[in-house]
Amino acid sequence: MITTSNLTAERIIEYMEKGKRFDGRGLDDFRDLTIETGISKKAEGSARVRLGKTEVIVGVKMDVGAPYPDSQDKGNLMVTAEFLPLSSPRFEAGPPQFDSIELARVIDRGIRESKFIELEKLCIKEGEKVWTVFIDIYTINDDGNLLDAAGIGAIAALKSAKIPKYDEENEKTLFGEWTKESVPLQKDVPISLTVHKIGNNLIIDPTREEEDISETRITIASHDGTIHSMQKGNAKELSVEEFKKILDIIEKSEKEIFKRIEKSLK
């Protein structure tokens, strides 16, 4: 298995004890973030997110189908993620591995629980026909923090998406033809952010070699201090004090990242 060597790990932690990182960032600094939307002509909405050397692309596709039994009057949301073998020597082709399943589920819950997509407006005929919004996430280059990059990509792709035309008479989605209507979204954008624990340090936006030695992480989707979803990943336990510190970091970073996303999307 490819992983960060013990020697590098020791140096990374030594640096962090002094509040420093190999690439010159502070512990709670995000890398440079660029967001491009409309990267696919075929998708309803799409985005490319670069976070330092990490790159993901996200596409939104829509189709009309039956609602889920427990939400007859609401559209459906489906999030999937594929860790493409081209994006890292450690990803292999084949059935989805745990990491990509977890990433998709964490992003799904951030969007779903915050009610960011107004799914009730995506109902065509109650109990029969609703829009399904598919958010598909692909990794292009993995240099750590795919989770947060994917979350930002999903938001950007959704914001750029237009609903396809639908032929009511023949009950057919007219793929490749779009209405002027955007996907109905709420004003409050849920920002999904992950804090990692490395040694005794809490950091955000790890590079690959940092993430390799992360002992545990917490991902939180929140807007303006209201928390909508949370997932603790990896086995190391956290004291309640550490947990509170993580909430501090999220609270502080969420607003800044939100501003940077807004700026990039303009």
Binding site: P69, F98, I101, E102, A104, R105, R109, E113, S114, I218, I220, G225, T226, I227, H228, S229, M230, Q231, K232, G233, N234, A235, K236, E237, L238, S239, V240, F243, K244, L247, E251
Partner: protein, 235 residues
């Protein structure tokens, strides 16, 4: 408001459902246990430490903990398709992470401890019941552990925090709706697992962790009592 708040099953806001805990429910296993919150019933069986297969999955430096969470097809109202799903894959891993901080299997290089969890009947909080059963089964199997773990779902219904959610509460429709926060704590009060779905502010989230601690005491008591009863039977 706490006093007036009515839960569908009449419990107090910080009241757990009736806990049933039993050790030794699967004779073939090296350790096994049942844990129930009311009518949410989980059983867990431990096999190992044993040689890890396939060989490429072996860790030459330390032992591996491997958990598998599975719901029976008829454990819920609408039949679920048997076999693994994305949800069960995630919960299996979450369970593993929740238990790992207390399980001391570093000395079992190349070996695996398998924990199989099955949900026989579900009325919410299934992952928590599963984790509680698994901790007992591991102890019953004699796997070295720092402590047990205790797992409980804390909920927020509209604005009210409650302990140990049932399905009816998970689907709460009034006010701010439901928030579900499953939390697992180690014996020394550290968080080995936390998840959240819903809508909550920071202050109440911190209160939720405190409620989990409070509930953890009762869960721990039930776990220990069942383990002791088993020990006495064997004497």
């Amino acid at each position: 408001m706490t006093k007036d708040f009515k839960r569908p099953d009449g419990r107090k806001v910080n009241e757990l459902r009736k806990i049933t805990a039993k050790v030794g429910v699967v004779p073939n296993a090296d350790g096994s246990a049942m844990f129930a919150f009311g009518d949410t019933i989980a059983i867990a069986a431990v096999y190992g430490p044993k040689k890890m297969h396939p060989q490429h999955a072996q860790d030459p430096e330390k032992g591996t903990l491997r958990c598998n969470y599975n719901m029976l097809s008829f454990s819920v109202t609408e039949r679920i398709r048997p076999g693994p799903s994305r949800r069960s894959t995630e919960i299996s891993k979450i369970t593993e992470w929740a238990l790992k901080p207390v399980v001391m299997i570093d000395d079992f290089a190349g070996q695996v401890v398998d924990v199989h969890i099955n949900i026989l009947q579900a009325n919410a909080s299934t992952r928590c019941a599963g984790i509680n059963a698994a901790a007992m089964a591991l102890a019953h199997a004699g796997i070295p552990m720092k402590s047990l773990v205790t797992s409980v779902s804390i909920g927020k219904l509209d604005k009210q925090l409650v302990t140990d959610l049932i399905k009816e509460e998970e689907d709460w429709e009034e006010g701010e709706g439901p928030t579900d926060i499953p939390i697992t704590l180690t014996g020394d009060g550290k968080i080995s697992h936390i998840q959240l779905d819903g809508k909550i502010g920071r202050k109440q989230l911190e209160e939720a962790v405190e409620l989990a601690k409070e509930a953890g005491k009762q869960i721990h008591e039930a776990q220990e009592k069942a383990l002791k009863a088993m020990g006495e039977k064997n004497e």
